[in-house]
């Protein structure tokens, strides 16, 4: 058993920012990060466009304007959370700059501010079009500077719970399949989204809702699980998102006849629905439509959204100057998670916090305003870090129940022993297609998830090797994704 004062699960932006806050304000605190990847590979890197903050560098922007844009876009936001987010976002961005984040700049030398959908002012601070990656790399540098211990390639099997007290986590060492208990006074879930539930997803392969499932298994309710947003411009066959700014700049959507079929400047959901309808009506090409940027100057593409060039070449093998780019709607964000207050504390459980995409404090409402997800990740992770420091003095390690290890090892050994006929990969594929398909109703999804859960019980695990067993890892992830799928399907039915 390993002991730390605080264990943070997940090495994305929220997890690293939270750990950093704890270490910076309480240097004596023994905080560590456990992650199933290497920290710089965290799923947060997929957020490309920018981080929203009313710095007012490019216009007379104000916190009030950011608040009202956020409320108008999200509709049912937690107003207190929005106020905290918008007020604290500028300081959070300055702080990242002070850490050395390579922001794009204005001629004045100040941080550049890009316009974005839903924002009344240019407001996104960006590092080229790799902002998430820049934040991850910068925060990782701080993790190194402060000597915060990181355990890479360790999969969290579950929370260690004693009554209503969370005592840490059980983890599987991916390289050896050994099980360990990390006992901590405070446990922070920063495990990200459940985007992998969708066949077309902009999220990383790692976004399998591990923290969500751990919460469900510990008897913690999840909220807002049906709040999953779709972006109209996913590159077909990958799900990676092309910045919608191309539409504002005059790019066109074309059907199989290479004719425009919708107003590209309408809201995201309207454009996405129009694309789905066009495909359903048989006017698509192999399940996608075309994005036409041929008339946009290459220099502008290179300057504003260079990933368009990379994506077209890397994933479609086309040159956007001369060719059309295949696109279809793709899952962009998942907003459901553990209900927390603004400090990330999970009600009803002692010693448990959640930050980032696995937490839901209601800040985004029904959909996240572009750039607000990154802002929320740093702002609320910092608040959580401060709240944890205040608590640490009185927190105790507590007793680790013996069933924590046996439950974890039962699960892993159970999977190693499975000899059924169903194929893991196929179950996973069917699950993801059911959630991406337009023709599956929410009621059907509930039933479908149940049948896939049955099939999962009858999969065979062919890889018996204990070293870096990626089939075992996939099985553990799918097991959790099925729990999350059930919660999403039921929440969607209840929301109707």
């Amino acid at each position: 058993m390993i002991q730390h004062d605080v264990i943070v699960v997940g090495s994305g932006i929220a997890g690293m920012r939270c750990a950093l806050e704890i270490k910076r304000s309480a240097p004596q605190a023994n905080v560590a990060i456990v992650t199933k990847q290497y920290p710089v590979r965290a799923a947060s890197v997929v957020e490309r466009t920018g981080i929203a903050a009313a710095l007012g560098n490019s216009s007379s922007d104000s916190v009030e304007a950011h608040i009202s844009d956020t409320l108008a876009y999200g509709k049912s936001n937690n107003a207190a959370a929005v106020k905290a987010l918008c007020e604290l976002a500028p300081a959070a961005v300055y702080e990242l700059e002070h850490m050395g984040l390579p922001f794009s700049r204005l001629k004045s030398g100040r941080i550049a501010q890009q316009p974005a959908y839903g924002h009344s002012q240019p407001r996104l601070a960006n590092a080229g079009d790799q902002t998430g990656h820049a934040i991850v790399t910068t925060l990782y540098g701080e993790i190194v500077r402060f000597g915060i211990q990181v355990y890479p390639e360790q999969f969290m099997l579950g929370l260690v719970v004693d009554g209503k007290n969370v005592r840490g986590v059980s983890v599987l060492d991916i390289r050896s399949s050994e099980i360990n208990i990390i006992n901590a006074k405070v446990t922070v879930l920063a495990t990200g989204s459940y985007g992998q539930l969708y066949a077309n997803s902009a999220d990383s392969y790692a976004s399998t809702g591990d923290g969500h499932a751990a919460a469900l298994r510990a008897g913690i309710n999840l909220t807002g699980m049906d709040l999953v947003t779709f972006h109209p411009l996913g590159v077909a066959n990958t799900g990676l998102i092309i910045n919608e700014r191309v539409l504002a700049d005059g790019a066109h959507l074309l059907n199989a006849a290479e004719k425009r079929f919708t107003n590209e400047l309408a809201s995201f959901d309207v454009v996405a629905a129009a694309i789905n309808a066009e495909i359903a009506a048989g006017n698509g090409v192999d399940g996608h439509v075309w994005l036409d940027v041929r008339h946009l100057p290459t220099s502008q593409i290179r300057e504003r959204y260079p990933h368009v060039l990379d994506y077209a070449e890397d994933f479609a093998g086309v040159n956007p100057k001369h060719d059309l780019i295949p696109v279809k709607p793709t899952q962009q964000a998942t907003l459901g998670g553990l209900s927390t207050d603004l400090n990330g504390s999970v009600a009803g459980f002692e010693g448990l916090y959640a930050v980032g995409a696995c937490a839901n404090n209601g800040v985004h409402g029904e959909q996240a305003l572009p750039g607000n997800e990154l802002a929320a990740a740093v702002v609320f992770a910092k608040l959580a870090g401060a709240a944890i420091v205040a608590k640490l003095g009185s927190a105790v390690h507590g007793n680790v129940p013996s069933y924590a290890t046996s439950n974890a090892s039962d699960e892993v050994e159970g999977l190693f022993g499975q000899k059924g006929a169903h194929k893991l990969g196929l179950v996973r594929k069917n699950l993801r297609h059911a959630f991406s398909s337009q023709s599956t109703s929410n009621e059907q999804q509930v039933g479908f998830v149940h049948s896939l859960r049955d099939q999962f019980g009858q999969i065979g695990l062919h890889d018996k090797n204990r070293r870096f067993n990626t089939e075992l890892l996939e099985a553990l992830e799918l097991d959790r994704l099925l729990d999350v799928a059930d919660a999403v399907a039921k929440a969607s039915v209840a929301a109707l």
């Binding site: 990847q37 290497y38 710089v40 590979r41 799923a43 890197v45 997929v46 710095l55 300081a91 300055y94 700059e97 002070h98 850490m99 050395g100 390579p102 922001f103 794009s104 700049r105 204005l106 001629k107 004045s108 030398g109 100040r110 941080i111 590092a127 080229g128 790799q130 998430g132 990656h133 820049a134 790399t137 910068t138 540098g141 190194v144 500077r145 392969y205 077909a236 066959n237 990958t238 990676l240 990379d310 994506y311 890397d314 994933f315 479609a316 093998g317 194929k423 893991l424 990969g425 196929l426 594929k429 695990l461 062919h462 890889d463 090797n465 070293r467 870096f468 067993n469 990626t470 089939e471």
Partner: protein
């Protein structure tokens, strides 16, 4: 189109040499190497071990050798290779854990030696806002800062193969990114690190490392560091120049 993949199977715990396995995969113009590996794993052989991450190449998880060159599996289209037979391999020069999975621990340890964070004497502005940096200065580091630490460059370096202590191009590009940052003032300390016995002078300008998935000219960056070290040795005072430039911008 049907493509043949030749993939080494190896477990460091039990094997001395790799055995090669052949898989046949039906690909479309859009299929990437990572897609093909997923198809193999889903439909043919679930025991094949490889890592996968963001699927966009921005995270650097899926570096591997593809037909003799280090590439990211997620951003390499099979048909773009113009070959019906494709040989895959783990990134050379790193210890193989299993199949296509290599051990990055020493790689990240070298990165940490580079002080991969801003070190500066320039005070934060009193209003708490950002330090100023001209677009030109920001652009000097923008490309190097996109390094996703996939390891393709360091793995391609023959010097790294023969001398595992050599920091390698990835770590040196990280150092370059901070040396070139107008906000950073620890240039002397940084040049001392990269100028040490296991640093830039081990580079024999082979430039394999400049074949970077993110198009970062790693080899050129290393030569730029060498020049900076020499200019400082002969007292051309680049450090002072740099501080002056920064103050002028602020």
């Amino acid at each position: 189109m049907k493509v043949t993949f030749r993939v080494p199977r190896f477990d460091a715990a039990t094997d001395f040499t790799a055995k090669y396995q052949i898989y046949h995969v039906e690909v479309t113009p859009y299929t990437t190497i990572l897609d093909a590996l997923n198809i193999i794993k889903e439909e043919q052989d679930s025991t094949l071990a490889f890592r996968r991450g963001s699927q966009s190449g921005i995270d650097g998880t899926c570096g591997m050798m593809v037909n003799g060159r280090n590439r990211l599996a997620s951003t390499t289209r099979v048909m773009g290779l113009n070959a019906t037979e494709i040989a895959l391999g783990p990134l050379p020069g790193f210890p193989v854990i299993r199949d296509l999975v290599v051990d990055f621990d020493s790689f990240f340890a070298k990165d940490a030696v580079m002080l991969p964070y801003l070190v500066t004497d320039i005070a934060k502005p009193e209003d708490g806002k950002e330090r100023l940096q001209s677009p030109k200065d920001a652009n000097r580091i923008a490309l190097a800062a996109t390094c996703n630490q996939c390891g393709c460059c360091t793995s391609a370096c023959p010097v790294h193969w023969s001398n595992g202590e050599y920091y390698g191009p990835s770590a040196l590009t990280r150092a370059y990114r901070f040396v070139e940052d107008s906000r950073d003032t620890a240039i002397k300390a940084r040049l001392d690190i990269v100028g040490s016995e296991t640093g830039v002078w081990r580079c024999h300008t082979i430039f394999n490392c400049s074949e970077c998935p993110k198009a970062i000219p790693n080899g050129e960056n290393i030569q730029a560091l060498k020049r900076k070290i020499m200019l400082n040795k002969i007292g051309l005072g680049r450090i002072e120049v740099k501080v002056a430039r920064t103050e002028a911008t602020v």
